[in-house]
C-alpha cells in the first residue's frame, strides 16, 4: 500500500513538472551515468557503476531557473569471489559472493543557470525517491533488501551547445546522491558523474 502511494506521488510530481514545460521551452537530457559509492555504501559495494542511464526534462519558469523531473537507473555490481563472513555472533558462511544494487531515482528538481547561451553552467538539486533493491548472493542463495528511500541530490554541471544556433548540446554534471535510511534498509550514497546529450526546445 505504501509502495502504491509512493509510486502515485512520484508519478504525480513528475507529471506536474513535465506539464510546466509548456510555459516557455526547456531542456531534455539523455545521460549515461557513472556512479561511485560513498560512505557506508562502500561497505556493501565498493566498485563504481558504469551501468547507468537517466532521462531528465527541465522547463523554464524564469530566464535563469528551470524546474523538472528525472528518472534513471544505475546498477552497482561487485564480485567478491570466495568470501567468508559472519551471519550472526556465532554463525559463519563461506561462499562465492556477489553483491548488487539496483538504484532507480525518481525526482523533481530545480536548476539555476549562471549564464545563457552556448555555455550554460548550472547548479541544482533534486528531491524525491530512490527505489533501491540490494542483493547479496552466496552461491545460488541471496538475501534481498528493497525499499523506497527518501532522497536528495544536489548537483553542479554544464550544458554546452554545439554552436550558437544549435539546439543540441552536451550535458555534464556531478551529482551527490543521498538515499535516506528507511525502517529496514540502510542509507545509500554515491557520487554520480553524468554525461549525455542535451536538447533545447
Amino acid at each position: 500500500m505504501k509502495k502504491i502511494k509512493n509510486i502515485t506521488l512520484a508519478s504525480l510530481i513528475t507529471l506536474i513538472s513535465i506539464s510546466s514545460f509548456a510555459q516557455g521551452g526547456g531542456v531534455w537530457n539523455f545521460d549515461w551515468g557513472m556512479a561511485f559509492p560513498m560512505g557506508s555504501t562502500t561497505d556493501f559495494v565498493n566498485q563504481p557503476s558504469f551501468r547507468g542511464v537517466s532521462i531528465e526534462g527541465r522547463g523554464y519558469v524564469t530566464d535563469q531557473i528551470t524546474v523538472g523531473g528525472i528518472a534513471g537507473w544505475n546498477v552497482f555490481y561487485e564480485n567478491n569471489s570466495w568470501t567468508q563472513t559472519s551471519t550472526s555472533e556465532t554463525g559463519t558462511i563461506y561462499g562465492y559472493q556477489r553483491r548488487y544494487l539496483n538504484v532507480m531515482p525518481l525526482m523533481v528538481n530545480a536548476h539555476y543557470y549562471f549564464s545563457q547561451g552556448t555555455f550554460m553552467p548550472y547548479i541544482g538539486a533534486g528531491l524525491g525517491t530512490y527505489y533501491i533493491e540490494s542483493r547479496d548472493f552466496m552461491g545460488i542463495y541471496y538475501s534481498q533488501g528493497k525499499d523506497w528511500h527518501f532522497g536528495v541530490a544536489p548537483e553542479a554541471g554544464l550544458i554546452m551547445y554545439l554552436g550558437s544556433s544549435s539546439n543540441t548540446g552536451i550535458n555534464l554534471n556531478f551529482k551527490y546522491n543521498m538515499a535516506a535510511k528507511t525502517k529496514d534498509q540502510p542509507t545509500y550514497s554515491w557520487l554520480g558523474i553524468n554525461i549525455g546529450l542535451s536538447y533545447l526546445f
Binding site: T87, E89, Y96
Partner: protein, 224 residues
C-alpha cells in the same frame, strides 16, 4: 532564447538507444556460476559450548551418512566413505580421538551426526512472446491477421540437483528432559550445499568439509 521544437522522431531514436543499453545490461549482470561456485558452507555453534571444546578429546561418529529424506525411493547419499574419512581427518587435526563406541565404559565428549539430502529443483521462468502486428496466433483458436492482443506467457523449465550435507555435534552427557523427551543441545552445526553437476564433485565435497572446520577454529582441543 527559444528554439524550434525538436522533431519528435529524433528524440524517439534516442529513447530506443537508451533502452537498448538498459536491456543489454540487465538488473543482475554477470550472474552465471560454475557448479563449484554454487558451493556454500555454513557453520554455527552454541555459544555456551564455545569454551568447552578445548577440554574435549574423544568423539564418536557413526559409519553412515544418514539420509534426511526418509521417503521411499530417496536418492542415496553418494560416496559415504569419502565424506566420513574427511570428517575424521579434520577431527584428528583438531586434536580429537575417534572411539568405536563398542566399550560402554568409554563415553565420548562429542558425537557427530552426518546427514545429507539430495534435492531436485525445478525453476520455472516465463517468456513473454511478442509477435508484433501481422500474422500470428490470435489467441482465440486460429491464425489470422490483426492486432496481437493478449498472448499467454510461454513457460520454460530448468532443473538442477543440489546436495546438502549436514553435520551436527553434541555432547551426550549434556541433555535436558523436555516434555519427557531427552534433548541434546547441538553444540556445532554445519550445512554444506551445492549443485551436483560436473566431474569434480568429490573434490568439492572434501574441500567444503575442510572449509567448515577451517572456519570453526574454536573446535580445536588442547586436551591431547
Amino acid at each position: 532564447m527559444m528554439k524550434t521544437l525538436l522533431p519528435f522522431k529524433r528524440i524517439s531514436i534516442l529513447v530506443v538507444l537508451f533502452s537498448g543499453i538498459l536491456l543489454l545490461q540487465s538488473c543482475y549482470p554477470d550472474d552465471t556460476l560454475s557448479p563449484t561456485q554454487t558451493d556454500v558452507v555454513y557453520t554455527n555453534y552454541y555459544d555456551s559450548a564455545f569454551s568447552l571444546f578445548k577440554d574435549y578429546s574423544l568423539y564418536y561418529m557413526p559409519d553412515t551418512v544418514f539420509n534426511i529424506d526418509t521417503s521411499k525411493g530417496a536418492q542415496p547419499i553418494g560416496d559415504q566413505s569419502l565424506i566420513l574419512n574427511d570428517i575424521a581427518t579434520n577431527m584428528q587435526s583438531m586434536g580429537y580421538t575417534r572411539i568405536s563406541g563398542d566399550d560402554p565404559n568409554v563415553t565420548p565428549d562429542l558425537v557427530i551426526v552426518p546427514s545429507g539430502i539430495i534435492t531436485d529443483n525445478v525453476s520455472v521462468y516465463y517468456y513473454y512472446p511478442y509477435y508484433g502486428y501481422g500474422w500470428g496466433w490470435d489467441g482465440w483458436g486460429g491464425y489470422g491477421w490483426g492486432y496481437p492482443g493478449y498472448y499467454p506467457p510461454v513457460p520454460y523449465y530448468t532443473s538442477y540437483t543440489t546436495g546438502t550435507l549436514r553435520l551436527e555435534m553434541f555432547n551426550p552427557s549434556d541433555y535436558r528432559v523436555i516434555k519427557n523427551d531427552t534433548i541434546n543441545p547441538v553444540y556445532w552445526t554445519c550445512g554444506i550445499n551445492g549443485v551436483l553437476e560436473g566431474n569434480d564433485i568429490n573434490s568439492r565435497i572434501t574441500s567444503t568439509i575442510d572449509q567448515a572446520f577451517k572456519q570453526s577454529p574454536y573446535l580445536k582441543t588442547n586436551a591431547n
